[in-house]
Symmetry: none
């Protein structure tokens, strides 16, 4: 149960950041791990990596992970490679050290067991020199954190067999990775060459006092880094070329290659042949998708990534969050609170607190607005009311807010896309911590009732996870509203239990 | 209403990919745009960018966007800059062309109106030379798509005033961007120098036949690109250094600077002074967070980004999806409620009717799942139950179905993106037309309660808009379930009115 065919046990050489990441990825996929690391502290360090990985991988996948594999520490590389189905080496980037480990492990690993090396840039031909059965050695270069990032570059050396490359790709795929097979052996492979170029330029920027490490990081994570999470440089630039595509982009930015835009000035000649190659490879990569289609795909990815970062509360997610607060503060509903009285003693009535036009994204498979959206509409109204009584960005920044503890919704009529709905709100009761409100959702203009809702909210310190009294200026606003709303009749549906006898549709205020 | 203080109208010079993106960002934020572009086709192209932007921005923010600003096309740069509060130039990267546009616009833009240039790399000192009131010119370099990516690099020239830089930062922030103020004027600024370094290396890789454009893109988007969406290179490397931090990382990978890992071999000398500078800037950037804390933050961001990409069905999201299917195929099949009997008389219990992993698109401005989503989750459970008792596509085709007439939701605990939730359902009562059910939403695995819901549904003919009895085969199924569920205790929260005294959290079945 839970086993990967042909992959019961792996031998790992080295248990640092990368080796520990491999250990975590294999163990979490139900594979037993035999690990060699001369560092006495390795078990503690790997335990911490495994704890991180367990937490993150559990969040990443929907399916329950299989029972974990075992993790045992071996005293020698020979022992770590005994009786295993696959070996992965992740020692520091010193050729002689790696060679020694690989040679020793190759004496005990059965001839048909493939050996992968995590080297960031050393050539596989150099690594396989002198090991037993050199055709089974291949570079499988992963990225930190190994237990989360899918990429593993596969690069064979002069002696590596095709079967070795296939076996390595199968092993890595079986634990959730994306193997990228490289056609040529080259120092740094592909990914690290790109990273190293960017890194060297970044070091120049710090060296020359142009920017700090933090500014350089911001220049990546609020801009190109967001795009690179779903599309590489070539596809991004194809899209940037607009309707005219890749050839246009190259023509437009080709001259920049000779501008001093980086200290890397040894650039390839943009010959017609190179240009043709780039354009035809880019065409193939686009796979028939038009620029407009690619733009929509890019935008969907960017929105999804930024929404994701918003839930993580970091980077561009923070920017979006701030932006949304700004929009909220500028919205007409928020303005209700700032423009004088919320409730007029001379004309007591529920407050028309919010307006919304139903978008197509709220529509169900049957063409109706999904039931849950009435709750969301009412929630918009409640949010606007909270904003109006002083729960603004500054207030929220103190970790205090009202949280809803229960709600009742009565469905009266169906909504469709394009319907313009008003939300009206009546304050039922409140004290220092409690806030009980009732809302009506009505068609704008006719006033026809669509739904009602009733909510109980508690004022809480969200950091301390406990209820606390609201600030005096908020309670003062609530008292003001209560003075007017207490003169209104109770809504017909207030205090309903699910299953109570139907009431007349409460179209009155 | 909805207006940004001091920013009613902007003048835009150039309406290509970047200028069109600016137009969209301003218009969607309720700012009027006056645009000059000599291309007759500009209105069509910008219309398409605006349509993309409207769609994407609507998905990005939770708040309703303000009423859109107007977009008018002007015949000259002078007219585009007349009567506006801010000017942004986005012409092609040709110094003489940009200079001419800026000079002409500067003759009509009032002296205190700031003029930003979108140039990717031309020096602001060169651009401001010869314009009227040169102290109000500043580079504001955005990234494509301008309507989504938050980054804008702000770089002043020799004559730029401090007030100009503050005003530009305010304008960009007010439309949701993240201004990055650069300390020094330099060709390519910061971001494009980094991009250009990577790009030049990428061109070498294609030129030398090492990899195709598609392989190079994969080497980014399945690896480092995922990290760069939330953290830049320096923070990523600090974490890679493990417990020993940035100094250790530099010591470990410093030698690689002299290895042929890129064709950029003109590297800065890693002097003690440069090393100290990097380490101290990196310490400041980490802001007291330990490596373990940073690792957890990194992992949360990576998971959130990959979950986001999964909802977009692209890139690393596809890899995760495939991995999850693999895990599922390897796991003991966990069929939910639909295989055979709905309720087991020998083990009476609520039916586990639905499972759902919360996506990033359910997240609120405060990082929580919006209240209304608990209703939606419960609704998914009810839908699954209806399907299980025979309300299938054929049944629905006869215009009959159950419609919800009222619901009650009790909120117990917050959900976040990635949470895996089970929905359990108990039949409370039913007759020929009525169906009364109660649901629990619990964390998968631990069973911890997140929310409860209660629903009354009526069986209706939706065409005739009247209630009618359900078909006998449906009622038979309900009778079967009732025979088992009637032996269960009533849920503690059933029949609650909003505002009733709190009950203990009902964690029992």
């Amino acid at each position: 149960m839970g086993a990967i065919p042909g992959l019961t046990t792996v031998g790992l050489l080295g248990g640092g950041v990368i080796g520990g990441g491999w250990a975590a990825r294999f163990v979490l996929n139900g594979v037993d791990v035999k690990l060699y690391d001369p560092d006495d502290d390795a078990p503690r360090k790997i335990g911490e990596v495994l704890a991180n990985a367990r937490r993150a991988t559990g969040k990443l996948v929907m399916t329950t992970l299989p029972p974990e594999g075992t993790l045992t520490f071996e005293a020698t590389p020979e022992e770590a490679a005994t009786g295993v189905d696959f070996v992965q080496e992740s020692a520091p980037e010193r050729l002689e050290l790696k060679r020694e480990l690989l040679q020793r492990a190759s004496t005990t690993a059965p001839a048909d067991v493939v050996i992968g090396s995590s080297t960031s840039g050393l050539l596989p031909s150099l690594l396989q020199d002198g090991i037993e059965h050199p055709s089974r050695l291949v570079v499988g270069h992963p990225f930190n954190p190994v237990y989360l990032l899918p990429l593993v570059e596969i690069c064979g050396g002069a002696a590596t067999s095709a079967a070795t490359i296939e076996r390595a790709a199968d092993v890595y795929s079986s634990v959730g990775m994306h193997p990228l097979r490289l056609a040529k052996e080259i120092d740094g492979f592909v990914a690290d060459r790109l990273l190293e170029a960017l890194w060297r330029e970044a070091l120049w920027l710090v060296n020359d006092g142009v920017a700090t490490t933090s500014e350089i990081d911001d220049a990546i994570r609020y801009g190109a880094g967001l795009r690179w999470s779903s599309m590489g440089t070539f596809l991004v630039y194809r899209i940037a070329g607009g309707e005219a595509g890749m050839r246009h982009f190259m023509a437009q930015f080709g001259p920049a290659l000779h501008w001093p835009w980086t200290k890397l000035t040894d650039v390839p000649e943009l010959t017609d042949e190179l240009l043709d190659r780039i354009v035809s490879q880019s065409d193939e990569q686009a796979d028939g998708r038009s620029i407009r289609e690619l733009e929509a795909l890019r935008d969907d990815c960017l929105v999804a990534v930024m929404q994701g970062l918003r839930s993580a509360g970091f980077g561009a997610g923070e920017v979006v969050e701030r932006y949304d607060r700004l929009l909220f503060e500028r919205s007409p509903a928020a303005a209700v609170g700032t423009s004088g009285a919320l409730a007029d003693p001379d004309a007591p009535a529920p407050i028309r607190i919010y307006e919304h036009v139903v978008g197509t994204d709220w529509i169900d498979y049957n063409g109706h607005v999904n039931d849950s959206r009435y709750m969301q509409l009412s929630g918009f109204g409640v949010d606007a009311f909270l904003s109006a009584i002083g729960i603004d960005a500054d207030y929220l920044a103190t970790n205090r807010t009202y949280v809803t503890v229960e709600s009742h919704v009565g469905y009266v009529d169906q909504c469709h896309a394009g319907d313009h709905i008003d939300v009206e709100l009546q304050l039922i009761s409140h004290d220092a911590k409690r806030l009980h409100v009732f809302t009506w959702m009505r068609r704008h203009g006719s006033g026809d009732l669509v739904a009602t809702a009733e909510h109980m909210l508690l004022h809480a310190d969200t950091k301390a996870s406990t209820t606390v009294p609201a600030e005096p200026h908020v309670l003062e606003k609530l008292d003001e509203v209560a003075a007017v709303h207490s003169t209104l009749p109770a809504p017909a549906r207030v205090g309903r239990r699910v299953g109570d006898k139907p009431v007349r549709d409460d179209n009155s205020a």
